[in-house]
Each structure stands twice: as C-alpha cells, then as structure tokens.
C-alpha cells in the first residue's frame, strides 16, 4: 500500500461545510421537523424543592380546549420500566429508584409532575395551569450541611440518607513522608459553584409511533443516537430494532444532551398511546431550571510544600452536590482523583470523596466535567507562590514534569507520555513578558489601579494515554463510494458544534484521494450510522483515526478493483481528485463514478473479486495521548465597582497535529468564553430553602461578545506518538483551565489588599467583599 498521501486538506483551515446552511438560517433543528398530525407536549413542574404529592386533580385539564391526553406519574408507571435516564446510563448505579414523572414526591423545583399533550404548545400550557396538585412540604435539602445532617429526611428513601456515595481513603505515594518532609502545609477549602450547560438550542424531542408497523421514529437533539435509542428501548420495553433515532442539526450541548431524559421518555410513551407524533421543545425556563446543572463541589485540601516551592503532596476530601436524580456526579471523584496531579511532580496524594443528594437539578456532564481538579490545583499553586512570595510562573516551572525525565506518570498512575505543559509554559513566557508586566503592575498600583496576571496549565485526556490504562474503546466507521463516485462517511460521532462534517471529510479526502467537496459525512441516524457518541474530547483521535484507517482500507479495495480494470499493478496506481490512474499515464485516468459503474457491470470482473465498494472498520485509538497547555489572563479590577476587564488573554496549547486550525481556535475560544462566564457571570443559584433563583436570562447571565476578550492562540504541534494518528481533541480544554486562569489573575490584581481567593464565582459584589471594601452579607 502506498503511504505517501498528499496532505491537501488536513492542516488547513478549510471553510466549514456546516457554515453555509447554519449561518444563513438554513440549519434544521428538531423544532423545524414537522410531521402530519403532530401534537405538542408541555409539562407541569413542581414549584417546590421537596414535597409529598398528596393528590393530583387533572380533570379540568383533560376537558380543556385542544387537549388530547394528560398523564400523571401514576398513569405512566404501568407503561414505563425502571432504569437509567440521561447520562446515568453510563454510570452503573442501581440506586436510587425513581419514576419517570414524579409520583410519591417532588425532589426539585422543576421536577416534572404531569404531561399534557394538546393540539398546540399554547393550549398545552393553558391546560397545565388547570391541574391542581396538593403538596405537603418536606424539609428541603439545599446545602452541603443539610445533606450531611442525618436528622433530615432522605430525598430517596432507598438510600436511607442523603449520602449517595462515600469512598474509602485512597493513598498514592508516600503521603506521610511528604508531609513530614514539608516546610509548610497549606490548608484550604476551595469551592466551585453550580453553573450549567446553556446550549443555544434547548432540548428537543419528537416521537412518532406507527401502530401498524409497531415502529417508533424519534427526532432528538443529542450527542449520540444509539444512547438515546437504548434508553428508549429499555424504558418503553421496545426491542431496539423497532426504534429509529434521528437528529437534525444540534445547536450545542456541552454534555447535556446524552441519552434520553425522563421528559423525553414520557413524550415517547404518549406518542405510542396515541399513535400520533408528539413534539416537546424545552423552553429556556425549563432548560435553566431542570435540564441539568454541574460543577457544584468543594475540595478540602492540605498541600505540603517546601521553602523552595516544591509541592510534595496533597491530602484531599472532595464533596459533591449531585442534585436530585442520578446524573454523572457519582463518577466524578474517581476522575478528579486520577487527574489531580496533572503534569506536576506531586509525589503523594491522599484522596477520599463524599457525594451528596440535594433538592436541586441533576448534576450532568458539562464541558470538562472533572475540571475542578485543574481549578483546585492551579489555585493551590498560586496560593503557595503567594505564601512564599515567589512568582507563580516560577513555581509552575519548578514543579512541572520534563519529557524524558522521571516521573513519566502521575502518582495516580496515569502516563504523561507526550505531555508538553513545560513547553507551553515556555512558549507563554516568550509571548507574555512577565517581568515587564510586573513593572507596569507596580506603576499602576501607585496610581490606584489594580492590574493582575494569572497563569494556569492543564492537560485533558484526548482520548487519554494507552499505557497503564484500560483500552480506549473502539471507534467504528463505515465508508462507501456511491454511484457518482462520491465518498460517503458514516460516523457514530454526533456533532453539535465540533465540525465533524468538515474535519472528517478533510481526513477522508486526503487519505482516499477525492476532493473535499466529494465527501459527505453522514451523522445522526440510528438506521445508518454505527454506534458511537461525541464527548470527552475523544473524537479527534478516535474518529480522526477511524476516518484515516477506513479511508485507507476502502482505497486499497478500490486500487485492487482498479488494477483489474486498468490492467495494471496496484503499486502503479494512484487515486487523485476523484480519478484512478496509472502513475505517469494521465490518459489512463478513470473517474471514480466510471469505476463504480464498471465494477457493477456483469462479467466485467472475475467472479472471485469482491466488488462491494464499502468498508466497515474500527479504530482503537492508537497510542492515545493528551492535549494540554497554558492560559494567561491580564485583567484590571476596578476596586470601586468590583468590575473586571480583560486587557489580554493568551493561549498556548498543544492538541497534536491540527486537522483544521480554525476549528481548533473556535473550540478554544468557546471554552474560554464559558470560563469567563463561570467566573464573572454564570451561577445556577438556589437559596437555602432550595428555591431556584436563576430561571431567566436576567438572572443567569451568559457572556456576550462584549464580555469575552480577544483571545490570542498559539499552537505547539507536539511530538508524534503514533505513526499516523496524532490528532488530539481540544473540545474541553478552554473551559477546564480558563476559570483558574481568570481567578488567578483577579487574585494577583488584589494581592496588595491581602486578598486570597478560595472560590470560583466572583461577581462584582463578591470582589469588593474580598477586597474589604464592602461588608459581606
């Protein structure tokens, strides 16, 4: 096989295939799908965080104009089998038990209590107001303390308490030795606040059950059609081949749209009962209140360090607020524990965790779900620097691993092969003149202006190292040549902003030898695409590798056929620009469409030749690997108003070989924007009684283009670990490291006021409290 491939598309900022339709308003989302006879669903949701349902009277709603069906939780019990919803499908949790819609009690503000299906969404919402529910208040569990108090009622009876999971103490390395050797120990509780995925497109779901065919067609906004299919099959008791799940364009997700939710299963059940299509489009109020939230946890940290700034070891207790229903919280501590040392020579770690149930929205995956490891570690590094009066950058350079030297793995066992955090720090120091900034900062302080510089580093498993790990999984892909000689790529990836239609086509076009325009990437249809899902920054390596190897396999097959048709040796053939030819003999060229036709002509080829122009393949992730890098923010804090402005934001990152630099930069920028939001604007706030306070965009503030700084990005294209596949994902990194970067910069600005920051959310009022200007409430 020829391995010389002209790299025409990979590495270039090829304009996105998705853009023309999406940017001109031609994108098609679930809400744009309209089926004949379609009905509309709306949900009655609990106004209380924790209450018994004494009775539900839906009789007036059933009689209301345009109403076709009303289901309470009890009505649905007989139709739905217990089991996981959403991302908890991946978690293997057998407890707690709960129902599709609330039956005995409600467990958060927004808990779905009843479903109304009507001729229009307006009429469905009108009818919702006619349902009379008699609630009996229960003590709300809305804080860590309330959840840990054994005298409070359990939110789920079968758990017996509000502790969902508690780990043993895990010890890595010589923890006692590290603390004995240390000159100092920093003890601190570092908080991360609840915030959430706010995709531009909310959740959307359309179920259409055909009674005659006993077949359920579903349109759903999701990150992987087969995950949704398996939940629907399981909860509805249908065999998987009776269900087809399709997606339209997906307007963002960030981890939210995984599997099928309780609401979606209820809607599917209604469609099955009615034999008509039923659509449910979550509104923004529901999205903010009840679709899922993330990030609420704290880490109690003791960090042992030397006079010279060596961080010797850490003792950590992680406590997570998992919200009410099972999401991904139970899986978090293990991820955080494994990642906490990151690219630093932290030689000892003691870790334990407690996961709590509360009357809040379910803890779901949100871009870099384990990111608290980076926030806490990078805060600790800066706090240590401040205690020692050292430059935080110098502490990082002291502690960061060097390639080719021990240690080559984290003390928690994960290999650091190919990690280039040190190089990204060096690049940052070349890009940002830190000593010059310090001089400017000093001069500004003399004028009463508070400038700060913050740096933070991270790595993300993209898809993660192979060494010392369980297998990376298999990414499946199919490719075929159609009658026009175009290359069809079937992937289980479900793009929701990642640009797979472009990036996978770039790889396939280069490897196969067709024009980019002649590749069509097919996604989002369980009848057509192999199983898979998009998440965890895995797809650059996994789907990129699958595209590369599958295109090669199909190319080999086509060359074989071409050898027969052109009566030449395979080694003399090439495929370029959609035509196969004998090298050096342009007149021999045969277009791929012509080849397809010739192959199908009876008698043209010997019997024994495989003439199917299709390949199904899978890719195991090769050597795997990490992405990572360093971010730097320069901010100014107005100590009269507490408002923060950015002067500069710089990213030096390494995601290996860039498939499409513009797409990579877009991922970095989007992640940083969410980090800006997390620190300065976004908080899914509850009061101590469990009332949700941030249910509109006047309360839950998203960063706009006016709030996000210009982001300067430079790429380190790393050391290849694999002969072919060195693309690594970058989807989560921006969001993982930006919060630490920005908080580090704010603390640096306020350092002359003696400020130490142990939290992530810093609205202006909080900044002035920390600065001692305003009394805390």
């Amino acid at each position: 096989m020829s391995t010389e491939v002209a790299q025409r598309y990979v590495g270039a900022s090829v304009a996105r295939s998705e853009d023309p339709r999406i940017l001109t308003g031609g994108g098609k989302y679930v809400d744009d799908v309209k089926l004949p006879g379609m009905l509309h669903a709306a949900f009655l949701r609990s106004p209380f965080p924790h209450a018994k349902i004494v009775s539900i009277d839906a009789s007036a709603a059933r009689e209301a104009e345009g109403v076709v069906l009303v289901y309470t939780g009890e009505d649905l019990e007989a139709m739905i089998r217990p089991g996981p919803y959403g991302i908890s499908l991946m978690m293997n949790q057998d407890k707690p038990a709960f129902s599709c819609l609330a039956t005995d009690k409600v467990r958060l503000v927004g808990d779905p209590v009843a479903l109304v299906v009507a001729e229009s969404r307006y009429l469905a919402e009108d009818a919702i107001e006619l349902i009379d529910v008699d609630y009996e208040d229960l003590a709300p569990i809305a804080t860590y303390e309330q959840a840990l108090d054994p005298t409070n009622p359990p939110i789920f009876e079968d758990l017996g308490s509000n502790v969902l999971a508690e780990s043993d103490l895990h010890t890595h390395g010589d923890v006692e030795g590290a603390f004995a050797r240390a000159d100092h120990v920093l003890s601190v509780r570092i908080n991360q606040h609840r915030h959430q995925n706010v995709p531009m497109e909310t959740r959307g779901f359309l179920a259409s059950y055909d009674r005659e065919a006993d077949h359920l067609l579903v349109w759903s906004a999701n990150q992987g059609v087969h995950l949704a299919l398996h939940i629907l099959a399981g909860r509805l008791g249908l065999s998987p081949e009776k269900i087809r799940v399709r997606t339209a364009d997906v307007g963002g997700s960030f981890g939210l749209k995984i599997g099928a939710t309780r609401e979606e299963v209820a809607v599917a059940a209604a469609s099955m009962a009615l034999g008509r299509p039923v659509k449910y489009i979550e509104d923004r109020y529901e999205n903010l209140m009840a679709s899922g939230q993330a990030r609420e946890e704290y880490l109690d940290v003791e960090a042992a360090y030397s006079d010279d700034g060596d961080i010797l070891g850490m003792k950590v207790h992680m406590v997570v607020d998992a919200g009410a229903y099972p999401g991904m919280a139970a899986a978090l501590p293990t991820m955080v524990e494994g990642m906490l040392p990151s690219a630093y020579r932290i030689g000892a770690l003691e870790f334990r965790s407690t996961v709590l149930v509360t009357n809040k929205a379910t803890y779901v995956a949100y871009r870099g779900p384990w990111a608290v490891e980076t926030f806490v570690r990078e805060r600790v590094v800066d706090l240590v620097a401040r205690e020692l009066g050292m430059e935080p950058f110098e502490i990082r350079m002291r502690n960061v691993v060097t390639r080719g030297e021990e240690p080559t793995s984290m003390i928690t066992g994960r290999s650091l092969d190919g990690v280039t955090v040190r190089e990204s720090l060096e690049r940052m120091a070349e890009t940002v003149d830190i000593p010059a900034f310090r001089r400017r900062q000093e001069a500004a302080r003399a004028e009463g202006r508070y400038l700060g510089l913050g740096i933070a580093s991270y790595i993300e498993a993209a898809p993660g190292p192979r060494a010392g790990q369980s297998p990376l999984g298999l990414e499946q892909m199919r490719m075929e040549l159609d009658g026009d000689g175009k290359l069809l790529v079937y992937t289980g990836q479900m793009p929701h902003g990642q640009s797979h239609e472009t990036t996978l086509a770039q790889i396939a076009a280069d490897e196969f030898g067709v024009r980019f325009e002649d590749v069509r990437v097919v996604v989002g249809d369980s009848d057509l695409v192999p199983p898979g899902f998009t998440g965890g920054s895995r797809s650059a390596t996994m789907a990129g590798g699958a595209a590369l190897t599958t295109a090669r396999a199909l190319r080999a097959k086509v060359l074989e056929l071409g050898a027969h048709l052109l009566e030449a040796n395979v080694s003399d053939l090439r495929i370029e620009d959609g035509a196969i030819s004998v090298a050096g003999v342009p007149s021999s060229a045969m277009g791929l469409a012509e080849l397809v036709a010739a192959v199908q002509e009876p008698g043209r080829l010997p019997e024994e030749v495989d003439t199917e122009l299709k390949v199904a393949n899978s890719y195991d992730g090769g050597a795997g690997g990490w992405s990572g890098g360093t971010h730097c923010a320069i901010v100014e804090v107005d100590v009269e108003t507490g408002l923060v402005t950015f002067e500069r934001y710089v990213v030096t990152e390494d995601c290996g070989k860039l498939i499409n630099p513009a797409v990579v930069d877009g991922q970095v920028r989007g992640g940083v924007a969410q980090g800006v939001g997390a620190v300065l604007l976004e908080r899914a706030a509850y009061d101590e009684r469990g009332n949700f306070l941030a249910a509109t965009f006047m309360d839950y503030l998203m960063p706009t283009t006016m709030d996000v700084p210009n982001i300067e990005i430079s790429h380190l294209e790393t050391i290849p670990l694999d002969p072919d596949v060195n693309f690594r994902g970058i989807g989560e990194g921006g969001m993982i490291v930006a919060p630490a970067t920005i908080v580090n910069a704010i603390e640096d600005a306020l350092a002359p006021l003696g400020v130490r920051i142990h939290e992530q959310h810093l609205p202006p009022a909080r900044i002035l409290e920390l600065a001692g200007v305003v009394e805390p409430e």
Binding site: E125, E129, Y285, E640, T641, G642, L643, L680, L681, R683, A685, L693, A694, T696, M698, D699, L701, P703, T704, M706, D707, P763, P764, A765, L768, E769, V773, V774, E775, P776, E777
Partner: protein, 274 residues
C-alpha cells in the same frame, strides 16, 4: 382609547413590546385584550414646546438617542439613551412604553424624575391630564395611570445654560439593567453650583431623587473634594434590595461611587453640554 375604556384592567397597551412581550412569554402577564399602539398615528414626535421638549409616547428610543434636538435641549436624556439595553431593543422600545412600564432600574424614568418632567395621561372619558414625574412612579411597575388611561407624551424641561449632565451606570454586562445608576444634572452659576439634580435607580421600587445631596451642593465650588459628602448622603438616603446581582451593602457602596463619578463628570463639562 375606547377599547381601553371598555376593557380597563383586562387590557394591556402594547408599544415596542420590549418588556410586555417577555412577560407574556413567561406567562407573568395574561391580559385578555392586547391593544397594539403601533398603528396609532400622531404619537411619534419630538418638538419644542414652551421651554420644554415634548416627546410622543411612541417615539422609538433609538430616535430619541439620535436626535440632535434632544442632545441640545435635554442632554441628560441623550446621555441615558445608549445605556438602555442593546441597539435592537432601542430600535423597538419606546420612550412612553419604558416610562409607563416603570421598571425601577430603567433609565428614562430616572431622567424624568431628575428633571421634573411631566407625563401626559389621556383617557377617552376625561381627556388629558398632566402628572408630575415625581408623582407618576408609585412602586415596582406601578404608576399613577388609571386603568382607562394611556401615557401619550412626556415633557422634559430644556436645560439652562451652564448645565452639565452625566449618567453613570454599573452593569454586570454591556446592555444589562443597571445594578445601580446615578443621573446628575448640575448647573454652574459664576463658578458655584446653582442647581443640582441627582437621581439613583436600582436602589428602591422607584427612581430615588436625592434631595439632601442636592441641597448640600448648592453654592458649593465644584471641586472633587466637595462631592464626597453629597455622595454619602445619597447612599444613606436608600436601603437598596439584595439580589443575585448585588447585595444591599454593595449597592449602597455603588450609589456613593456612582453619584460621585456623576458629579465629577457633570461639573467637568457644563460647557460642552450646552
């Protein structure tokens, strides 16, 4: 007006729809009758009127913002307009709609109260009456309008010579409602402050006129050092609410900072404003 008289409390007037439509979408308002003022003629004007500038209720905020007449006659209003929401909002939103909606964080009511503007209310039965801005705003989203009355005009006094203005806001993001804002219009006569008008918003259920602070400024030389005490007086006159965007103590602090900044700015530039 007949429709309004007939339906009274059951009806809502729809002007630019920048506040009412979101309330309808959230089902916080569900009037049985919606009266669209969009096609009512004669409510879209800006004209001089006996030492005042009269602005028709349906004049778009963007029109007010871009009006040279407003800029030269009522500079405080000009100064406030770009701070209202975003461009798309100001293209639809109207001066009368914002005034009648009476959001306690809205800019136009602040200007109206600061300048002692006059609000014209019209009903089909009783004709027109004039309500001073100081009496018009009665609480959160509550005004002196009767159920059968529509706000048809707001009249702002024309600024006298030597008047400087400033509108200082602290917002979480560009275009948000202010956590706190301070409006100031200060007239300098012979090097000393002859008249001062200060209003803060986001601090109570209505725009708050800071009369003690105003008094303290009369006859004072406009030096930075002279503004500390009036700013503190303005802050102590209020007991602002706490919410997600800022605690009461923070807002009180902001009043002091923003009133001081507004006074510094307005007294720096009386010349350029007149």
């Amino acid at each position: 007006m007949a429709l309004l008289a007939e339906h009274g409390d059951d009806a809502k007037l729809l002007a630019g729809g920048q506040s009412l439509v979101p309330l309808l979408a959230l089902r916080l308002a569900s009037p049985s009758v919606l009266i669209d003022l969009g096609s009512v003629p004669g409510l879209d004007y800006i004209r001089g009127d006996d030492g005042h500038l009269a602005i028709g209720a349906m004049t778009r905020e963007r029109t007010v913002e871009r009006s040279d007449l407003v800029k030269s006659s009522v500079p405080l209003l000009s100064e406030a307009m770009p701070l209202i929401g975003h461009l798309a909002i100001r293209n639809r939103g109207t001066l009368g709609g914002s005034t009648a909606h009476a959001d306690p964080s809205a800019e136009i009511p602040a200007v109206a109260v600061a300048l002692d503007a006059q609000v014209t209310a019209t009903s089909s039965k009783r004709g027109e009456r004039t309500i001073p801005a100081s009496q018009f705003f009665q609480g959160f989203f509550t005004t002196a309008l009767e159920p059968d009355e529509a706000l048809t005009q707001v009249r702002f006094p024309v600024a006298g010579p030597g008047t400087g203005v400033a509108f200082e806001e602290a917002t979480r993001r560009h275009g948000d409602f202010a956590m706190v804002a301070a409006a100031a219009a200060v007239r300098i006569d012979d090097g000393r402050i002859g008249d001062a008008r200060i209003v803060t918003i986001g601090v109570s259920d209505v725009p708050v006129r800071c009369r003690e602070a105003e008094q303290a400024l009369i006859g004072v030389e406009p030096l930075a050092s002279a503004f500390e005490e009036p700013s503190s007086l303005a802050a102590s006159a209020c007991d602002p609410p706490s919410d997600l965007h800022g605690t009461s103590a923070y807002r009180k602090h902001l009043i002091r900072v923003l009133v001081r900044r507004a006074l510094e700015k307005s007294t720096r530039r009386p010349k350029e404003q007149t």
